[in-house]
């Protein structure tokens, strides 16, 4: 694939992520912060988001395996995940966290279990999408091209 095609593919892919609700305006703000002094800023922030999310999802899984479920602690974890997902523009994950918090407040175990599965699924999806996007960007850079805005 030539450079122009790669660049077009990236633009289309990125547009689709916004269109399908995977990303929102906050991700655009992240991209606008990146400059020649900090060329890997977006990748670095998103990597931190991945680390944070995986830790929190593990904590939530463990919490729901306990005999006595600590809903308050679970709510704190979901609250953190909501905060970090909204900070990078991972809209679908953020919206599910709002639902999850409602189930925590209602002390609804079934609801929490179901929500956790949904959050894990959405997180895995957005992670794959972002990684694919970064790979495309890398291909363009390797081919000597500039990343279209």
């Amino acid at each position: 694939m030539d450079l122009v095609q790669l660049q077009r593919q990236l633009v289309d892919y990125r547009t689709s992520l916004y269109h399908e609700g995977f990303l929102d305006e906050q991700f655009t703000q992240l991209q606008e912060l990146q400059d020649e002094n900090n060329p890997d800023f977006v990748v670095e922030v998103v990597s931190l988001f991945f680390q944070d999310s995986e830790r929190l999802l593990n904590e939530l899984s463990k919490a729901l395996e306990q005999q006595i479920i600590d809903f308050k602690r679970m709510d704190a974890h979901v609250h953190q995940l909501k905060g970090s997902s909204s900070s990078i523009g991972a809209q679908r994950v953020q919206k599910l966290c709002i639902v999850f918090r409602n189930y925590c407040e209602a002390r609804n175990v079934e609801g929490c279990l179901k929500c956790l599965q949904q959050v894990k699924h959405e997180y895995a999806l957005v992670k794959t999408k972002l990684e694919s996007m970064f790979q495309l960007e890398q291909q363009i850079s390797n081919a000597g091209g500039s990343i279209p805005v």
Partner: protein, 149 residues
Amino acid sequence: MVSGNSASSSSLSMKSDEDIVNNNNNLRVLVVDDSPMIRKLHDMYLKKFGLKVQVAENGKQAVDLFHFGASFDLILMDKEMPIMDGEEATKELRTMGVTSMIVGVTSLDSPNEKQAFMEAGLDYFFTKPLTTDNISFILQELNKKNNKN
């Protein structure tokens, strides 16, 4: 003081980017948040405005910095943090006589929790994530405050 949830500023946009950075060169900011991702994000936002940024991982670290003689013009304080949360840290700093502008930045949903955090001694409160408009507003207010003193 009243929270500035969706405040925006247009007067700073009249200046050139260089003017904005030069105006803010002497302002020191402390970002207090337990999330490495949020610390990195806010650090970048603030540096774009020409600010000198230091970070702390929790409320206790922030309070200790002041105990050891550090001073900051602006503190961005998260609410939910281990060891000492933002509300407690804010109360502690105000009791110590700290007059820096303290801006709460969190993804709290409950109005009661927001109210309690404001009453701890915040000057303003914003929901996460901060936007460039939020920061413009904060800096405008900070410059007004510094001009009065």
